[in-house]
Symmetry: C3
Subunit: 263 residues, 3 copies
């Protein structure tokens, strides 16, 4: 594995290697509540990385399942009033059981309904919040400028408010962009090396949120787990881009790289 | 770009080139309400072509979003009573805001419930209606002969009734088939060049409806926008077929071609 | 087509060839009610094999559609209280109309809500029940040990209870694993030849359940239909594995092989 160079702080690549090996060894059960666009892709990403994804969405089942899972992802990308009940129940159960969970506030800021839902979920103490700069800014209470699900701000622009959000919520904040920034409000790690093609395949960012939840199943240091998952993504993305001839073959190569990155 | 030869009328390929360039330049926000089978594929098709897809489905959000989008797609493929409310709200909002929108009447004619829904949606003035021959015939009031989602009629068979449907609804009608026919009731354009493999990957037709919505975001002439999107699809499809060894690699190659067609 | 060697009983490969040819000739309409993770993949698998998939999920539509379909799949993978009504209605309609149907009890045993639903569905006489060993054991009333959707038991371990389940329900039981076992309680057929990569792409097992429903549309002997579909899968899987460089390219190659297996 190549070294993921980190500008703000030098992160040992041996930690990434070790965390990935733990994921492959333990195949952490990852409870994924995500949007209907990316369910299939997310499951394939987690399987490729060695985790064990399960999309359980019934209000009757999510509490039990969030309690036994290694990590939970809650993504509000296509939320509606029916699924909102399950998402709320899963967040409550994860908090109660001490299961680490990741919040992905897709398009928060651009749409009021989901913004209220995402802000309400903060009281259940997400372990990690992953989003693009616009989403993080919106969640931090800034006047949002997001256009749909694509960020209109650079990831570094969101860093000051992201640090404040980390302090006020207790969550690690992972801002996705050309460079990913991950902060707990005190320490900040930059993970460069992503590729523009990663924004041309739907759900790459969403599946990173899910993979962070998988890594949290084996690595309790949330900052480290988030960095390791992001580094694995950056490496797979840059390798895949080298042998792609468009967005279709990039997506295929990305899964191939994820499934064959050696520890 | 090769010339898309058009039998009924000669359509300048320079228009196709110009419209695609506009999509890539402006990345029109496309509000997609589609069936659960094709969400991922549709998002990837739109991203490959250069548009900005967003699947927003909550009844609480669709009206606001349809108003700010460049184009809206409504596809009834897996409609149920819950999503029907969102779809109705989106159609009303699009009409009110003047956002162009596309209706895809999947399997209308074969199933009564969705046939009623699709006919009801006509009062909200879709800009374009895209379907196969059976669906268009059914929507035009003919006694349908569709088997599920596959057409049992040739696209040319539906042309006379499609013209009447165009006149009575004010919509451009795009009939998909071996040759696509696109008509506003007065002018009719034929777009040949599709490939049989396009019917062996789920959602190709559905994603064309979405791409027409994207093109409507940059090209207000609905006949032209529909022809341009269809021509781009035909070109990508025939190129992809040349280098495929089955349906799996065709789908990948189709996205690759879409993402690399040069303007 | 290579011979699918069968340990318990020698199954003539000419039957597999003949059944696949019938699927390609008649393109049986297959009514698929499945989980939101695998809808797209399942549709592409069925199209590649030559069947005609249709995902119709509205409670208002499922009864009519199950009655006219050649086969129905009911998969409870992401069931919730809304879809449970449609699934129940589809099972009732299939039974009443004499349409063969397949039950896929995903994660039954691990979660109580869906376990109750699956057991209730048994009264509507599924033609085939397809699952992994843990799921079949749970459905057979054993104390389940499933972890999410992945089996923690070997397929052969489930065989004795599977035979009892077959006798008590009248269904053919298809247990997926390294070797697939298919039994009607009297005869048991083993289909070897699958590949570990088939467990690293989401929905491969789920789509086998759907393909069995397609085969039931042309082959009324449920044991034979299940064996033929499983053999086609095993062949496509082992061929695809030979030319894959990871899980992404395996999925693509699997569809390619399915779509080009010659009869």
């Amino acid at each position: 594995m190549t070294t993921a160079s980190l500008t703000q702080k030098t992160w040992p690549s041996s930690d990434v290697v070790s965390d990935l090996a733990e994921v492959r060894k333990h195949a952490p059960l990852t409870h994924v509540l995500t949007n209907i666009v990316v369910t299939n892709w997310t499951a394939n990403v987690l399987l490729a990385a060695g985790a064990s994804p399960a999309m359980v969405i019934a209000e009757e089942e999510v509490s039990d399942f969030a309690a036994i899972a290694g990590g939970v992802l809650i993504n509000v990308g296509t939320i509606n009033s029916f699924d909102a009940k399950s998402i709320k129940a899963a967040a409550i159960a994860a908090q109660k059981a001490g299961t680490p969970w990741v919040l992905d506030p897709v398009a928060v800021g651009a749409l009021r309904y989901r913004t209220e839902i995402a802000k309400d979920l903060l009281q259940h103490k997400p372990t990690v919040i992953r989003g693009n700069a616009s989403e993080i800014l919106a969640l931090a209470g800034a006047v949002g400028g997001g256009k749909g699900v694509d960020s209109t701000a650079a990831s570094s622009d969101a860093l000051p408010l992201a640090k404040e959000l980390a302090i006020s919520t207790g969550a690690v904040i992972a801002i996705s962009g050309e460079v990913d920034y991950i902060t707990d409000g005190k320490e900040t790690v930059a993970v460069p090396g992503g590729h523009i093609l990663m924004t041309k395949v739907t759900g790459v960012g969403c599946s990173l949120g899910a993979l962070i939840a998988s890594f949290l199943g084996v690595q309790k240091d949330a900052l480290r787990a988030s960095v390791s998952a992001s580094a694995v993504f950056a490496i797979a993305g840059s390798r895949a881009a080298e042998r792609s001839s468009g967005t279709g073959s990039f997506a295929v190569a990305f899964l191939d790289e994820l499934s064959t990155i050696s520890a």
